[in-house]
Symmetry: C2
Subunit: 148 residues, 2 copies
DNA sequence: TGCAATAGGACTAAATAGGTCGTAATTTTA
DNA sequence: TAAAATTACGACCTATTTAGTCCTATTGCA
């Protein structure tokens, strides 16, 4: 249904929150969950996953928490989405291969093109672009944006 | 999770099948479901919905079925998807309005831009482009396609 | 030792997607 | 007119995914 999962949404919010910490200070899950109205245990798992995938670094024990790992402007949105949600495919046959409908399935090739286009959109955007509340200047707006 | 529903997939396959009928002849659901290995009752409902939304015209009774209504090259994919699946929004706050997280939610604006870009991709493609098994010539391939 | 924090498994609940069944209505054909 | 073929449509069931809860380690600081 062309929607990100809450997990991914929470992950972006958390990364954003962490990226605004003074000098990349450690911030704990409770603060992020309180500030953004996200259930603590859920956000907790999301951050564990972000840590497993090397987007953030955990600091255990009292006064622990998380901070951003690496340079978000060098990580692209596509890799992030694929690591959080798995491969992106509008229909199964794009990611799974093998059409269950017919040998001469007519929709696959065009959907593949649409899918590739979407992927390229994600590929051209860094994580930093997404989480840093970036406002595009008029001449920076990517082409073809309708505004709706 | 950035995937079309089966319903939409079936709808595209059905439109494709119908569009290949000689002289826009009527084709019944059974033929389409047999030919594409789609459960008959499911496809049946999909076509009823396509008829309600004016993409196809039903012909009742024996020897009845459906045929394409109007010119698919004049209908765009965006309208089709929105009519089949509802408004397209990567996260709820794009379609619903009103962020439940915080007043200063930092991810909405960039996600809005990504969303608009995706929408423009769908907007620039006609239904005919999708269902007619179109192969892009090398110089027609939309920019930025990675091929994965 | 006690508290504050992450780590992570097991479980439940809710939403969505996908599919089945039964029956009515309509139209052609014999 | 009866039978067969077909769409129309609602009620229901099931599987999967998504979202969230709970409990119990484990780690490290004070």
């Amino acid at each position: 249904m062309l929607k990100l999962t809450k997990k991914t949404e929470y992950a972006l919010i958390a990364l954003s929150h962490l990226s605004h910490a003074e000098g990349n200070n450690t911030i704990n899950v409770r603060e992020i969950s309180d500030h953004n109205n996200i259930p603590f245990p859920v956000l907790s798992k999301v951050l564990q996953q972000l840590a497993q995938k090397d987007f953030v670094e955990p600091v255990k024990g009292a006064r622990g928490g998380y901070h951003i790992k690496g340079d978000l402007s060098k990580q692209n949105l596509l890799q992030f989405l694929e690591r959080m949600e798995g491969p992106i495919g509008l229909v199964d046959c794009i990611t799974v291969h093998g059409c269950t409908h017919s040998d001469t399935c007519v929709i696959r090739s065009p959907l593949q093109i649409i899918n590739d286009t979407i992927i390229s959109v994600f590929n051209e955007m860094s994580l930093a672009d997404v989480i840093k509340h970036h406002h595009f200047a008029p001449d920076q707006i990517p082409e073809g944006i309708s505004g709706g």
